[in-house]
């Protein structure tokens, strides 16, 4: 039987739209031909890119029905679901990569979600807006009000981002969970990776977003 996971060569030739710089940074970490679960896959831009540019067996979970329907109508394998409740169904080690891009801060239980990510996949790739970036700190300090920025654009009373954290906070969570940080980088305001190696104090001050590659255990 033909393996449904692999695309025939002709299909890869189709020109694809370019994707956001931060998604590109994630895509570059993915080995071709692997099995990937993108949690909170939105309109499926990253999945589509991975499926066609990297011949990845790409699956997605998306909470919004409109997003799911758009993905499936494009031929992507996406289920309507919720990172907080649905990851527990997936078998341990069923994926090579689990991606959680710009979604962690909107989950009810980020700690449990990160635990599930490293359970279901050999590598977890997590990105999130850094609440510790200097201008957010400055706004809070100067105005005394919850910062509203390009990456955190909603007012406090209507934001879906209920568990904001800083890069240092996230490093602390990984430590608590006994999760190994294989790679840590920060993205600038355009989503471009900045070459700050260790997730040190400077990263927490300058990074708009944190981007981490994690694996289970120490």
């Amino acid at each position: 039987m033909t393996d449904p996971g692999s695309l025939p060569a002709a299909a890869q030739m189709r020109p694809r739209a370019t994707i956001r710089v931060d998604l590109k940074a994630i895509a570059e970490m993915i080995e071709p031909g692997t099995r990937v679960l993108d949690i909170g896959c939105g309109d499926g831009a990253l999945l589509d890119y991975l499926a066609h540019e990297k011949r990845v067996d790409a699956r997605g979970i998306e909470i919004s029905q409109a997003g799911v329907n758009a993905c499936v109508a494009q031929g992507l394998s996406v289920v309507q679901g919720n990172a907080d409740t649905d990851l527990k169904d997936y078998p341990t080690g069923g994926f090579d990569y689990a991606i959680l891009s710009q979604t962690l801060q909107a989950t009810w239980d980020p700690k449990a979600v990160v635990g599930e990510l490293v359970r279901i996949a050999r590598r977890a790739i997590v990105s999130f807006p850094n609440f510790g970036v200097w201008h957010v700190r400055l706004r809070l300090l100067v105005s005394g009000r919850m910062p509203v920025t390009d990456t955190l654009s909603a007012a406090w009373y209507e934001t879906p981002n209920i568990h904001l954290c800083t890069i240092d906070d996230f490093v602390g969570l990984c430590d608590t969970l006994g999760v190994t940080i294989e790679k840590a980088m920060v993205l600038d305001s355009q989503g471009r990776p900045r070459s700050l190696n260790a997730p040190g104090r400077l990263a927490n001050l300058l990074g708009e977003q944190g981007l981490f590659v994690l694996r289970r255990g120490r």
Partner: protein
């Protein structure tokens, strides 16, 4: 060939055709499972010969990789994209199936077979029992969804189709889709179970039981031997249909369509005529249904649905039914479907996830109830179209 061309002349009295086995049979194709190699049913009974009545549309390609099996629901039949030989109405899924449609018969070779136990040409309780020379009636063995699928698999063997590109069906048709994937995992490249479940719920068994009891309470049912008595339990079957029909709709849809409006009258009659439009509508649904359906078939097919429980068949773990599956799934439910609610599809999706299956799952917003899967639902159709195109790409199907 134009699907309509293939249809022979309609029976002069379709009502008789539906129940009288001596009347000319329905148009379309036939395959016979010989008595020498009978179907071994889940009940242990060996049944043969068995006739499978089916329709095909489109052309099977050279490497036999473009076949799509459409599985019909409880009261559906093989005329998925043909004018119905009894009612004269368009095929029941012409919204999806046909030339240039989503299940494009210019691309795919579409097969749809009347289920085992049905009454549109496949062997069922109204046919002659070779052992007695009389209609089977209640002597017909109880059949299951698994038995229906076994009969379809024999048909596909006969047609030389090793692997189906896709199996698609709604409601009981969706049960067959799941049974196909579970029983013949290598034979299904893509599966689309729509508005269905992996097992019939207590509520659904209850509704089916009401329908069966309505039939059996009709004196003309004659303990299932109504053909010999020259009668037909039309009243019971009509009531069964009326009750079932309510479950296919939604409160919103019923209210929008009928409200409390009166039927052909200005005021209440203070009697038991069909005062309300909704009553008149249901009576019409019941009375037209008996023209095309056999009462005993209704008993047997509803029983098959009740018995369906893919989870129990796999030791209580639904994921076991799909272990190692390579099939691509697209599970679809509708928000207002209370007969097969989204929660059932979600449980199915959780099991597929646990089996690491490649699965898409969409819930379509519709207020049309269970019947939404048969109707013009643009978002449903765009999802099915996208899924099929994506699957065809993965299968390497090329269309001219």
């Amino acid at each position: 060939m134009d699907p309509l061309e293939r249809l022979g002349p309609l029976s002069a009295n379709p009502r008789i055709a539906a129940v009288d086995t001596t009347a000319p049979d329905f148009p379309g194709r036939r395959f016979e499972i010989p008595a020498a190699a009978p179907l071994r049913l889940d009940s242990g009974v060996e049944l043969g010969p068995v006739t499978v009545a089916y329709q095909t549309y489109g052309t099977l390609n050279a490497d036999r990789s473009n076949a799509v099996l459409v599985c019909h629901a409880l009261t559906g039949d093989q005329f998925v994209a043909d004018r119905h030989p009894v009612t004269g109405k368009p095929g029941w899924w012409e919204a999806l199936v046909g030339a240039g449609k989503l299940v494009d018969t210019n691309r795919y070779f579409v097969v749809c077979a009347n289920v085992l136990g049905g009454c549109m040409g496949s062997t069922g309780p109204k046919d002659i029992n070779p052992a007695t020379g009389k209609p089977w009636g209640l002597a017909f063995p109880v059949i299951t969804i698994g038995d229906m699928v076994k009969a379809q698999a024999r048909l596909l063997d006969h047609l030389g189709i090793e692997q189906l590109f896709c199996v698609i069906g709604g409601s009981m048709g969706g049960m067959q889709v799941l049974e196909w994937v579970s029983a013949y995992p290598e034979r299904v490249f893509a599966a689309v179970p729509v508005a269905t479940s992996y097992r019939h719920s207590a509520q659904n068994i209850a509704f089916n039981e009401v329908g069966r009891q309505a039939i059996m309470a009709d004196p003309d049912w004659q303990n299932g031997a109504y053909q010999l008595a020259g009668v037909s339990p039309d009243r019971g079957l009509a009531v069964a249909r009326m009750a079932a029909h309510i479950t296919y709709l939604s409160e919103t849809a019923l209210h929008r369509k009928f409200g409390r409006r009166l039927q052909n009258r200005a005021q209440l009659s203070y009697g038991f005529d069909a005062d309300f439009q909704v009553e008149s509508y249901l009576r019409h649904q019941g009375s037209t249904f008996v023209d095309r359906f056999d009462a005993n078939s209704y008993l047997y097919i509803t029983r098959a649905m009740d018995y369906f429980d893919l989870q129990a068949e796999h030791g209580g773990s639904l994921a076991e039914a799909f272990t190692g599956t390579k099939t691509r799934f697209c599970v679809v439910s509708f928000t207002s479907d209370w007969l097969f609610p989204t929660s059932e599809s979600r449980a199915l999706v959780h099991a597929l996830n646990a089996a690491a299956a490649n699965v898409s799952f969409v819930e379509i917003v519709s207020d049309k109830g269970h019947d939404a899967f048969l109707l013009d639902e643009p978002e449903f159709h765009s999802v099915i179209g996208g899924f099929l195109n994506g699957a065809a790409e993965h299968r390497g199907l090329k269309f001219g």
